[in-house]
């Protein structure tokens, strides 16, 4: 099937997908989710992946983030060909290159905000002092230095998501992936989180790929890519 390829230009791509396909199997039945995806996303881009339910946007995000494997094609992300990495190497790669922001924040309830943000740093060689500095810096970026010792249950939804964003950026990854980051927030908190993500992109140069079905959220991205039944439908450049 011929599908449009998307190249956002603007320099060296941080994400380079070629003929990427993904299918799921239900017993003998193959269910194609993505087909023939070609995509080039440059460093510093802020992309909103949009599309109806089942269009494959989350699957595409998972493939880019290295938490799922394609059934065909190649994915070069942050300078690594993901198909060449085994599971452990891919885990190490994710720790060094990708920060995750989830719809439901997914903070560990028994850990404080500080400890939640510190989690990805435990896998690095950083010592206790360095970890503390980086966690405080990350929580400072999301304006939560006064909540270091708070547990998730003591935080509002917006604050939880900001802690999750601090956790995503604490290892200074090249790429942030966000799956419906405002899906569980009210309008005010959603706006705050989206503003924060915009700052991370414009001020810190983070490349962000965000899945959303909310046009308002998508409007914060620089580009919107629409998927329909596993193929690209159209690309929209956003004039903010």
């Amino acid at each position: 099937m011929d599908t449009p390829s998307i190249s956002l230009g603007g320099g060296e791509p941080i994400i380079r997908l070629r003929d990427v396909a993904k299918s799921y199997w239900r017993e003998e039945l193959e269910i194609p989710v993505l087909q023939g995806i070609d995509l080039d996303i440059p460093v510093g881009a802020y992309i909103a992946l949009m599309g109806p339910s089942g269009s494959g946007k989350t699957t595409l995000l998972n493939l880019i983030a290295g938490i799922d494997r394609p059934t065909g094609g190649s994915l070069e992300v942050c300078g690594s060909e993901l198909n060449d990495l085994d599971d452990d190497e891919l885990a190490g790669w994710r720790n060094g290159h990708v920060g995750f922001i989830f719809q439901n924040y997914n903070l560990v309830p028994v850990l404080t905000a500080f400890e939640n943000v510190e989690l990805p740093l435990l896998l690095t060689g950083a010592g206790r002092g360095e970890r503390r500095d980086r966690v405080e810096q990350a929580l400072g970026l999301v304006n939560l230095t006064d909540k270091l010792r708070s547990y998730p249950r003591q935080l509002s939804g917006g604050q939880e998501q900001r802690v999750a964003i601090a956790r995503a950026i604490v290892t200074e990854p090249d790429l942030l992936v966000a799956d419906e980051p405002t899906g569980a927030l009210d309008a005010k908190n959603a706006e705050e989180v989206l503003g924060l993500m915009e700052r991370l992109n414009s001020e810190l140069g983070k490349t962000i790929v965000m899945v959303t079905h909310d046009p308002k959220a998508a409007h914060h991205a620089r580009h919107q890519i629409h998927l329909e039944k596993g193929v690209f439908d159209r690309t929209v450049e956003v004039n903010r």
Binding site: K57, T59, D88, N106, L111
Partner: protein, 388 residues
């Protein structure tokens, strides 16, 4: 160290569940440790290292049948024999029928030679022995028994007979110390007290204890004695002291099989309970595990964290159970040791502690590994429930 805080906090995620599983493990390990130690105590009764060259000669038909004292010279004449001691269970009590202890009529001339290890003869002077042998109403008493009743040398002990219709008044001449506390819960008095007080016991004894020079001579001696008295009115059954004691233990039924059966049931039950608890705990954290892996934790690292958490949980329960068992053993020794001879030595041996700890860790490993392995093999996207 950096992982310990994470593991500890995860462990206390559900305090009630942690408390319940630690509590059930504690009780299970306590039960297993106590039962296994009980078995060890029973086995030690039938495995006295000091009795390797001692034999009991008794009536072939059973312990209630008597043998003639006239057998004694024949036994003494055998070249393998060092000494012979007539011994008869008296079965009396002091003041209260519930106040059980071993009391036996014994040949006062050979008893010290026969049981020199148990009586710690090196600490008893020749004069004390002669003093006991000269006093026809003299008796020797173990230190545990003496302490329990507040007896001292020179005291008179009135015994009330239950098997034999006499109530002898005995003078304590020696209080002995023994390597095993269970051996100190006994009283021995002159055989003549029984012979003179009970006419039907004249010239009879329930058993003869025989000490050989060398343990290697046992089979030859046993075969010769039992053959010698075969087809007589008083046929003999000669057996080692350990085999003789085993006969008493067997009267309780197949205790070993019962204890092992209960132990197995407890282990299987706790494996199921722990397995179910760990499976539930890990299943509740499916999304969290997926998030950890998304952040870069490898499957192996997540599996290790979960296993350490599970092992820590069972180790806590196991150690608390053992602590409780050690405390209980001290209590059992001090309260029941004087009533039940084999409980005087009741203790949780290092082997039992190691076996219980090892078993606990194996249970923890088995109970945690299967759900943890399944959780870490599950695709991250499944864990996140995020198929677009």
């Amino acid at each position: 160290m950096r992982w310990l805080a994470l593991i500890w906090k995860s462990l206390l995620r559900s305090k009630r569940r942690t408390l319940l599983i630690v509590g059930s493990l504690m009780l299970s390990v306590f039960t297993v440790a106590v039962l296994q130690s009980l078995l060890t105590s029973l086995n030690s009764m039938t495995n006295n290292p000091n009795s390797s060259n001692r034999l009991a000669v008794r009536h072939k038909s059973g312990l209630t049948q008597m043998l003639p004292r006239s057998y004694e010279p024949y036994l003494r004449q055998q070249p393998e024999v060092e000494t012979v001691c007539a011994l008869q269970w008296f079965g009396g009590y002091y003041q209260d029928p519930r106040n059980f202890f071993a009391n036996l009529a014994a040949d006062e001339t050979t008893i010290f030679q026969m049981f020199r290890e148990e009586f710690g003869v090196s600490d008893i002077t020749e004069a004390q022995i002669k003093d006991f042998q000269r006093d026809g109403a003299g008796c020797i008493v173990g230190e545990v028994l003496a302490k329990k009743n507040g007896w001292k040398v020179g005291d008179v002990v009135p015994l009330t007979g239950t098997i034999f219709p006499i109530n002898p008044r005995l003078n304590i001449r020696i209080i002995y110390k023994s390597p095993r506390p269970s051996d100190e819960n006994a009283l021995y008095f002159h055989f003549k007290v029984l012979e003179e007080g009970v006419p039907r016991m004249k010239g009879l004894s329930g058993s003869f204890w025989v000490r050989l020079h060398r343990p290697e001579d046992i089979p030859r001696f046993v075969e010769r004695v039992d053959r010698h008295y075969a087809n007589s009115a008083y046929e003999t059954l000669t057996e080692t002291e350990n085999a003789f004691n085993l006969g008493f233990v067997k009267m309780l039924g197949n205790i070993g099989a019962i204890i092992q059966g209960i132990t197995l049931a407890v282990v299987v039950a706790i494996l199921i309970v722990t397995g179910n608890t760990m499976a539930t705990a890990i299943r509740e954290r499916t999304t969290e595990i997926a998030v950890f892996r998304a952040m870069g934790f490898s499957s192996g690292r997540v599996l290790t964290l979960l296993l350490v958490e599970g092992m820590l949980l069972v180790a806590m329960g196991g150690m608390l159970g053992l602590l409780l068992a050690l405390v209980a053993a001290t209590g059992v020794r001090s309260t029941l040791g004087s009533l039940t001879p084999f409980l005087a030595d009741f203790t949780i041996l290092p082997d039992t502690i190691l076996a219980c700890l090892g078993g606990t860790l194996v249970v923890g490993l088995l109970a945690t590994f299967i759900p943890a392995y399944a959780a870490t093999r599950r695709p991250i996207t499944d864990g996140l429930k995020a198929i677009g």
